[in-house]
Each structure stands twice: as structure tokens, then as C-alpha cells.
Symmetry: C2
């Protein structure tokens, strides 16, 4: 059996997401939103990226409906997830946090618009995510707001960021797992759940989304850490493991590179198994699970 | 006829709000929310304040139901409004914004917890506002999320803050009115609307809330500006009007102190008239409208 061809699928889905994001950002017109604020929000939202969260959301919705004709609720869910992801990057890049000058190859929001407007652009993107979801149809709009808020709030993404800034080199694997389950895992899981819920999926589909989303969320983060180690090994000519010696708080630093890779592979297998009832033996969701660890950036 | 006695009413309502806020903050337990983040969120949320937005929300709900037995939807609406107000203060106080060291007589959030955690506490409070509303009963939870998101997003409070940081001394009265309609007016209006909607009020009650909320939102801000001028005149011994000469962008600076007071009084009269069908000749809402301009801080 030929394996699902991921590359053209990803390109098509990423273009689908770009179109949805551009259209949704037209809500921020000059009659309601100060133009400079809208420009700053659009700058970061439309700066590209993998669009993994909306792609997962759309893929689950498509798997549930057996079509790629998305409804307003599905489109809004996909966009709201990327609004929240983008706001978290804008705030993360601020001087008081990671103090990054570049993001996705272009200057960070505060480098272009200044810190005050970057802070507000982040606040705006977060709030507009809920505005978008809440403007959708009953009864799903309340459900989607609840899902997104839980995943991105104090017991989700924001909580994970708080664990991250408090992490030290003595932290344990348990701490690392909890940190990433909250910081990146919660929103990736929500992307899967929201795709099913927005598309009206049943309890079995939701259970697939939960098992898949938990596995892929963690696998994605482990792969990020592995990529960081191996690409610095190649690019910077320093031995693999230098990050671990420097006490950087990553999976390779805590459990080693081989164990990190083994964990990621096991999680991908678990994710593939979870969506087999939903899409058969080798569909886009299984391919996306592999992509989450095999990607080059 | 004896005028409604506002002082004991405000004390009672503020205590009612403090109890609701303390109870709602118990959601951020250590199993879900990192304790230091929860502490930082509680620090600012429970630091006191006038609680005008939740008090307005509860007063409208009480006027609609003719009782003070609030429902879960009303309680959540009142708390969510104060979460959003508090998050806006925490972010406003950050060094890159107003760089304030004190708020309500105690050190600002970032002075106690550092900038990164203060930023996250603000993000957390905003997100938890939607989490709280979205956890409520159908069908009103979607409506309340939509109201709060619209009022606090890019075409509401965040938009007003963006106009504020871009304002210069050449700005017009029209600019000032739009700035404050968004920056403070939108959330005060939402407080009134959400009280009616959470309590199941009819279209007439909602119309009262809109006319009242628009008037009180603006009157409150004009009073703030007037208070700033007059209390500095008394406290600092400098002549009234020094702020205007310094180019501070306030109502007294743009239209003068007398005209500012006249505008505020006219707005209060309009608000009183708007709620007469709902509560009769002299009820708590009329008293709250007067309070919004007659308060001492």
C-alpha cells in the first residue's frame, strides 16, 4: 500500500488556512478597529508558519464529515486556534520574555510596532479568537469557547508558560512533561477536539481526537527539542549534548537523545492507531502525526 | 421623596462582589493552575477597587428579576467583567506601558511578581473570563462570551488603548470621545447589557441598559479627568488647568473644566431617565449613575 503523500496535502491545507485567516482578519475594519492596531495584528497573524493547529482542526472536521466542505463553525475554530497561537508568540517574543528580534524570518511584532502596540496586538488577537467563536451558530459556539478557553488559560497554555519561566535545571521529567502538556500540548489537543466538535462528530470521534491530540502534542514538543539539538550539532559544529551540559531544559537534556527519539516514535504510533477507526489505515491524520516529528523546522 | 441612600448600597454590593470574586478564584486550584500564577492573578483581582462593572451588572440583573437572588450566569458575568478590567490594569501598569509602581495603594503586579509573570497573569485573567462564562448554562453562555469579547477586543477596550497610546495633543474632541467610548465605555456598557442578558431581561430592559451604559461609560471617564485636575489642584497646590497646559489629553484639556462638568451632568440625567421604566423614580441604578461622577476617587 502506498503511503499517504503528505507534502501536497500540507501545501493545500496551509493555503486553505491562509485564505481563511486573511478573510477572517477583514473583520478588523477601520470603522471598528484602529487601523494601526489591525495592521499590527495582521502582521503577526499573516506572517506564515506551519499552521499545524488549524490544519489539525480542519483534518479532524474533514474526517468526521467525510468531505472538505467546511462550515462556518469549522472555519472559525481553525482561525481562532491560530489567533491564540499567534498571540502567544507575540507576547513570548517581548523583551521581558524571550526578547526575540526575529520570528518566522521577519522582525518580531514589537521590533516593528513597538512594545506597547505589540502587547495590545497580542491582547487583541486573544480576545478576537473568542469574538470569532462566539459570533458563530448555536449551540456549538458556547462549546467551542469553553474548549479554547480551557486549553489556553491558566490551567492550559498560559499555565505552561508560567511553568516554563519558573523551570530550573534541577527540574524532573515529570515537571517537563507537565510543562509541555500545558504549554504546547493543550492547544494542539484543543485543535483536534474543536475540529470534531465544530463538525458535529460523535463520542467515538471525540475519543479518537483526545488520544491522538495528547500523543501528537507531546511528540511535537519532543521533536522540537530534538531538532534543536541536532540542527545545532550540524549547523554549529558542536557535539550533540552540549545543550544538555549547559543545563537547557529539554527532553534530550533530561532523558537523552535516543530516549527522546524513542518516546516520539512511540507517541506517533499511538496517534496513528487512535485515528484508524476514523480514517482507515493511512489517511491524512496519520500522516500529520508523522509530520509532527519528521518535519525539518 | 427621600433620595436613594447610595453609601450602604455600594458597601453591600461591593462586599457581594468581593465574595463572588474570591469564590470564583478558587477555580485556579493547584491541580490545574501553577500556584505562583494563580497567586499573581489573585493578587491583582482581589486588591480591591470600586468594582463598578460587576456592581452595574448585578444591579441590572436585580432590576430585571426584581430580586437580589442571582443565578450562576449573573454571578459569572459579574466576575468575568472584573477579570477583564483587572487584566487591563495589570497590562497597563507594565513598564512598556504606563510603568506604574502602585495600583490601589499596593505595588503593581510586575513589582511583586516580575514582568514575565505579570504579563502571563494578565493573559490568564483575560482567558479565564471566557472560561468562566463559557462554563455556564446554555443558551446564554454563548451570548455572554460574544458580548464580553466584542466589548474588550480590538473594536472595544483594546482598540481604545491603542488610540490612547497614539494620541497627541493635537487630537480633537471627536478623537477623545471615540477613545473613551472604546477604552472605558465599551466595558461599562457591556456590564449593563450582560446584567440584563444573564438575567433573561426583555428587549425594553436591554434598550434601557444600552442608553444608560453609553451615558454612564462616558460620564465616568469625564469625571475621572475632572477629578484628576481638581484633586491635583488641591493636593499639589498648583493651579487648575496645569494639566491642560502640559498638553495632557483629557476632557478638561480639550473642552475646559466647566464644559466637562456640564457634559457629565447631562449624561447622568440621560442615564437616570433611561432606567426610570425599569426601576421607577429613584432606584439603585439612578444612584449609581450619580455615583459615577460624584465619587471622590
Amino acid at each position: 500500500m502506498a503511503a499517504f503523500n503528505l507534502d501536497p496535502f500540507m501545501r493545500t491545507q496551509q493555503e486553505r488556512v491562509e485564505t481563511l485567516l486573511r478573510e477572517s482578519a477583514e473583520r478588523w475594519g477601520p470603522a471598528g478597529t484602529p487601523p494601526k492596531l489591525a495592521e499590527s495584528m495582521r502582521y503577526s497573524l499573516l506572517a506564515g508558519g506551519k499552521r499545524l493547529r488549524p490544519v489539525l482542526c480542519l483534518a479532524f472536521a474533514d474526517a468526521v464529515t467525510k468531505s472538505s466542505t467546511d462550515t462556518a463553525a469549522v472555519r472559525d475554530a481553525a482561525c481562532a486556534l491560530e489567533y491564540v497561537h499567534t498571540y502567544s508568540l507575540v507576547h513570548d517574543d517581548l523583551p521581558s520574555m524571550d526578547n526575540d528580534d526575529l520570528r518566522r524570518g521577519v522582525p518580531t511584532n514589537h521590533k516593528v510596532y513597538g512594545e506597547p502596540l505589540a502587547l495590545l496586538a497580542g491582547d487583541g488577537l486573544l480576545t478576537e479568537a473568542f469574538s470569532l467563536l462566539a459570533s458563530g451558530p448555536e449551540p456549538v459556539r458556547g462549546t467551542l469557547c469553553a474548549e479554547l478557553a480551557r486549553a489556553s488559560g491558566a490551567a492550559g497554555m498560559v499555565g505552561g508558560q508560567a511553568l516554563d519561566i519558573a523551570a530550573d535545571r534541577a527540574a524532573t521529567l515529570d515537571y517537563l512533561l507537565r510543562l509541555h502538556r500545558l504549554k504546547t500540548g493543550a492547544l494542539i489537543l484543543a485543535a483536534c477536539r474543536m475540529g470534531v466538535l465544530a463538525a458535529g462528530g460523535d463520542a467515538a470521534a471525540l475519543a479518537s481526537a483526545v488520544a491522538y491530540g495528547e500523543a501528537v502534542g507531546l511528540a511535537f514538543q519532543i521533536a522540537d527539542d530534538v531538532l534543536d539539538v541536532t540542527s545545532s550539532a550540524e549547523a554549529m559544529g558542536k557535539p550533540v549534548g552540549a545543550d544538555a551540559e549547559a543545563g537547557r531544559f529539554t527532553f534530550p537534556a533530561v532523558v537523552g537523545l535516543d530516549e527522546s527519539r524513542r518516546m516520539a516514535a512511540e507517541l506517533v504510533a499511538r496517534a496513528e492507531a487512535a485515528v484508524r477507526p476514523l480514517e482507515g489505515a493511512d489517511g491524512p491524520l496519520a500522516a500529520l502525526a508523522r509530520y509532527s516529528v519528521e518535519r525539518k523546522s
